[in-house]
Symmetry: C2
Subunit: 363 residues, 2 copies
DNA sequence: CTGAAAGCGCTTACAG
DNA sequence: CTGAAAGCGCTTACAG
């Protein structure tokens, strides 16, 4: 017994440590070991047809003995399905703001949602993050496209034209953007969320002056939020502080910059500052606090997204919750049905929820 | 002009929206469009040989016009390289502890390090997270193995035997474990870190009673830390509180449980509690605070890892910093050299650094 | 420099 | 139920 063990071991370690690495096993090795054809091996491995019990057993045994794992590339080439979904997003390597790099952010949570949904279908997720300073983003995305059955693109990864072009190669789902021709889009109901938020500030709290710290101006989400913000505030007769000094960029640093600019050139602050997203609110709150301005007593602040850290800010952030896990999962599901059935919803809008905490002035 | 635009559009949208989806483009389409052989197309696409300028141009133009993207599976099958590295890790879906799910944890940071290093080599990262309750983990991992050129396995994903077996299929790097036969391992210098930490507590602070809240007992990291902890504390003549009640599980909940068990059955607490990792320390500190026990005045607490949130705890956590980004990057680099050159370091040990903050009793 | 052809490791009609 | 064979879309010796 001892001996058998040793033999098995030295055999193995022999194979493993050979300088000339053993050629990878193929389905042919399994077939000859089991004494059947490669077609039979393939069938029992994939549960196709109804192989005779004896056949099945011999194949299974050979697979187990050899430790055979079929090559994914060959399978993919043969049956036209890689069982891989590509996800491309922007790595936040630009900003170095307090809690910003350190929390699970919007994109991370979405990716987790994609992952979970993908696993249900036997898909794996091919991640490709691109840095802000990376060049040839397009070729990087194309490389991912070539390795996947479909692509999920986070917001603002590519121009509408590029997206349309790419969607000729593989099905594409964009996140939180607007539908591009050829691609599908999954997003949250910005309009309803912003409407509820502004009404809460202007009607419930009765704030008469209000401003919107914008996100990147090329973001459809930002544009939708800005539009509704203005319409609702105007409808309620509030005064809107506006202008280029209110331009943020979705980052905490951007939000802080806006506030710093305001207090430097002394002028009246609005009673409430509505931020394009939570990260911006984070920066705004930090900067306000640094300048000794009380939140929410002097200025109320709100966010958008409800990232995990939002409830831990001081004061806890009033914001609009986007169902991020669900957003990711839905993106995958839409993509999957497009891949498998050939048709998918061109646009899905998920409901959001106003989360009232204390940064708006509520007790 | 207007007309041209429209024509181009309707043409395209025609192709895109056809019920019978257009057959995917192949290298043959490009070749015929460019009037060259597929070999030439392949050569210019891959920068092999020295195609004549005219050839190159015609190919490039055809590629651009058609929007051709080569199929990754076919490339992989043909040249034996997928340019994909698989990463398998455990999703934390078990515990619901305060800051635990909400911060970028150990594994997330490591994965980011892998991603960055992989991009440098044109590799993409195939992520597969497994939940604690997931079954047939092995088959899931094998599926990833089949789709990748190599595998990076986080700690405690598989038994040593399974790892050795798997390493017969693709090169495997394990993280923070001990080297299994056939696989390579990248880890941090637990011994040096724990030695410095315990000496700081026992020698510098002069604490005479001390305990170690263990991590999972099947973790090599935990065993190494426990061993050095005991040796150093004993060498300095400190009294070690020990026993099954000090068994944690690497989670915040586990750390809290240990403390709760201690205060329930009143007994003397040690002067210092050394935790197997930061998450455990997080739970220990929460539980201590909940019971009105002062940190570090009554009990000092330390962690291990230096996760991003560690510096934001109250008091800031004294811990041992593992270079997590570097750990991930090194894991990829080792794997890559094994994939490309055929040989890689069987074991790499990265240096760690004692980070003294306030939870140990320092001002 | 370029093309015809073989081959990568699978899956799946097609016969039997 | 099972096997021989074609084919998936590339890359790369091998001739020319």
């Amino acid at each position: 017994m001892e001996l058998t063990g040793h033999m098995a071991q030295s055999q193995k370690s022999n194979r493993t440590s050979k300088t000339a690495p053993k050629a990878a096993l193929t389905i042919y090795d399994v077939a000859s070991q089991a004494g059947v054809s490669i077609a039979s091996v393939s069938r029992v491995l994939n549960g196709q047809g109804s192989p005779r019990a004896g056949t099945r057993e011999r194949v299974m045994q050979a697979v187990a003995e050899l430790g055979f794992v079929p090559d994914g590339a060959a399978r993919a080439l043969s049956n036209g399905l890689k069982e891989v979904v590509g996800v491309v997003f922007r790595r936040g390597d630009e900003t170095r703001f307090q809690d910003e790099d350190e929390s699970l952010l919007f994109m991370d949570v979405i990716n987790r949602g994609i992952d979970v949904a993908a696993q249900r279908r036997g898909f794996d997720v091919l991640i490709s993050s691109v840095g802000f300073s990376d060049e040839n983003v397009t070729s990087r995305i194309e490389a991912v496209a070539g390795k996947a059955d479909g692509l999920i693109l986070h917001d603002r990864m590519l121009s509408a034209g590029s997206i349309t072009r790419l969607s000729g190669v593989v099905p594409v789902v964009t996140l939180a953007g607007s539908p591009s021709r050829g691609a599908m889009n999954v997003r949250c109901d910005n309009e309803a969320g912003m409407r509820a938020l502004v009404r809460h500030l202007v009607v419930d709290h009765g704030y008469r002056t209000i401003a919107y710290v914008a996100g990147r101006s090329d973001s459809p989400d930002n544009r939708a939020r800005a539009r509704v913000f203005e319409a609702e505030a105007r409808a309620a007769g509030a005064e809107i502080y506006t202008g280029p000094e209110w331009q943020g960029d979705y980052s905490a640093a951007g939000g802080a910059r806006v506030v710093t600019g305001l207090v430097d050139t002394p002028r009246r602050l609005p009673r409430a500052i509505v931020c394009a997203n939570d990260q911006t609110a984070l920066g705004v709150m930090h900067a306000l606090a640094r300048n000794g301005i009380k939140i929410p007593d002097t200025v109320a602040v709100t966010g958008f997204d409800d990232v995990p850290v939002a409830r831990h800010l001081h004061p806890p952030l009033t914001t609009v919750r986007q169902p991020m896990l669900e957003l990711g999962a839905t993106a995958f599901d839409v993509l999957y049905s497009r891949i498998s059935v050939g048709k998918g919803e061109p646009e899905v809008v998920l409901p959001v929820q106003l989360i009232v905490r204390q940064s708006c002035g509520c007790p």
